[in-house]
Amino acid sequence: MCSGSIDSVYVLKALLDGADGVLIGGCHLGNCHYKDGNYKAMRRVEALKTILQQVGIDEERVWLRWIDASEGVLFSETIQQMVDELRAKGPNPMRKPWQVWQETIGCQPLGIESKPNKRR
């Protein structure tokens, strides 16, 4: 599957179902069979990461790397590196979605008339 065909919903679904990280592997820039699929992936991942970061989800759990089908060594090194970094981060809080909903304190009005919103 072309990296350009990855809708952000696939990445989100994995993260919200508790995956500690998501790797999107694409062909190197300039090597796209479909001309610009990987460029599209790049833009989309950039947008996705900006959004994640703004809603309190660690955007560094999403990895976009250029790895050719023939680059087995690079692939294995990337996975190793990813595992190391994710291990250091600890588990994704969404591994326990019920706990997340248990910790919510409900929505206070945000913005112009808002009051300070303190958790416990």
Partner: protein
């Protein structure tokens, strides 16, 4: 064609009357065959976007409608997507124009044969609030409409309606783009007295017999409002950003969501023809739910609340035109305006894009970034 500035004199301060005459002329002179404009219905208790063919019906029109039950961006898309060739004039608020521009870029609306009549926006009220206000007022429906407009023009930054003080919709309170960015004609109210500021093609002005004259106070009035609104906007952004530390903070904002999809129906920019949340894409066999419940001992149902809103953010935030229809439609009044505008602002800045600003600027997700290989 050269754009000129002109004014429509309002006899005895009858702004609505002057605007209605002007719109009637557009139809009568054949400049447009149809007009899309808000008309008072239910004895003035609310207004509805109406496609008008007969000028006589314009005696109920209010181009400066104090309510926006739906965003006309989506309606214009409905009326233009198949390029019927009909000459349509659409009276649109600035946020509706921005939405329309985005829909044109997404290939879901067309500007062919369309005349955009943009209006200065004084802000809008929630539909249910406005109906309550009208019920409290005395007099004829026509008088009530004119009175609300006059009250709103009195204190533009914080309009004071009588006898029931209303609060503008959250999106309007933080809106800093209240004059049309793109339009064929603009009907302006900022910084003018008993008249309406019009900006239009010189030829058209001549044809309609308008007095060409600049509106001196407009720029000043716009700048003043811009300052106070930008401040309000930045405050909303700052508070939201401060709060968003973990996923729990985001879940806080959505804790009472009932997954009714009202926000996506109301959003003019939710562009998927078929939303996969309304298909069985995320409806696995029941066995899966039981397994998920076993994993942690409990499972919140319905399951995909966060996924739904995050997916919508991913699709829409870059083009979010700030109309706030999502929050107005939400039966739980979740702070969707704040979420979408703040996150939207972040993504738009990161990708260097301003939605609705120009027709030439492509939506970044569809463009190829320049990168050194």
């Amino acid at each position: 064609m050269k754009k000129v500035e002109a004014v429509l004199k309002a006899e005895e301060g009858d702004i609505l009357g002057a605007s209605r005459n002007f719109l009637s002329k557009l139809l009568a002179e054949g400049l447009v065959d149809y007009l899309l404009v808000p008309l008072e219905i239910s004895h003035g208790r609310t207004l509805a976007q109406t496609l008008v063919k007969e000028p006589a019906h314009l005696d109920r029109a209010n181009p400066f409608s104090p309510v926006m039950p739906v965003s006309s961006a989506a309606i214009v898309a409905q009326l233009t997507f198949d390029k019927s060739g009909k000459k349509l004039g659409a009276v649109l608020k600035p946020c509706e124009i921005r939405g329309l521009v985005e829909l044109v870029k997404l290939g879901q609306a067309s500007l062919e044969n369309l005349i955009i009549i943009g209006t200065d926006c004084l802000g809008t009220y929630e539909v249910e609030d406005y109906a309550k206000l009208i019920d409290k007022m005395k007099g004829t429906a026509k008088k009530k409409g004119a009175q609300v407009l006059a009250d709103m023009r009195q204190g533009i930054a914080e309009p004071d309606t009588k006898p029931l003080p209303l609060s503008l919709r959250p999106a309007c309170k933080m809106c800093n783009s209240f004059t049309p960015l793109i339009s064929d004609m603009t009907l302006g109210l900022f910084g003018v007295g008993d008249e309406i500021f019009v900006s239009l093609d010189s030829e058209l002005a001549e044809k309609l017999g308008l007095e060409v004259k600049g509106a001196s106070g407009r720029q000043e009035a716009v700048t003043q409002l811009l300052d106070s609104r930008t401040q309000a906007r930045e405050q909303v952004f700052a508070e939201f950003r401060k709060k968003m530390e973990t996923i729990v903070d985001f879940a806080d904002c959505l804790d009472t969501c009932i997954m009714c999809y009202a926000c996506s129906s109301a959003c003019p920019l939710c562009y998927c023809r078929v939303c996969f949340f309304r298909t069985d894409t995320f409806e696995p066999e029941s066995e899966r739910y039981y397994r998920w419940a076993e994993r942690e001992g409990a499972l919140r149902m319905p399951t995909e609340i966060l996924l739904y809103h995050l997916t919508r953010l991913n699709h829409v935030a870059i083009s979010c035109c700030g109309c706030g229809m999502c929050e107005s439609a939400c039966p739980r009044k979740l702070p969707l305006t704040t979420i979408f505008q703040t996150v939207g602002d972040g993504v738009q800045k990161a990708l260097g894009y301003v939605p609705g600003r120009s027709l030439e600027e492509e939506i970044p997700l569809a463009t190829i970034p320049e990168v050194k290989v």
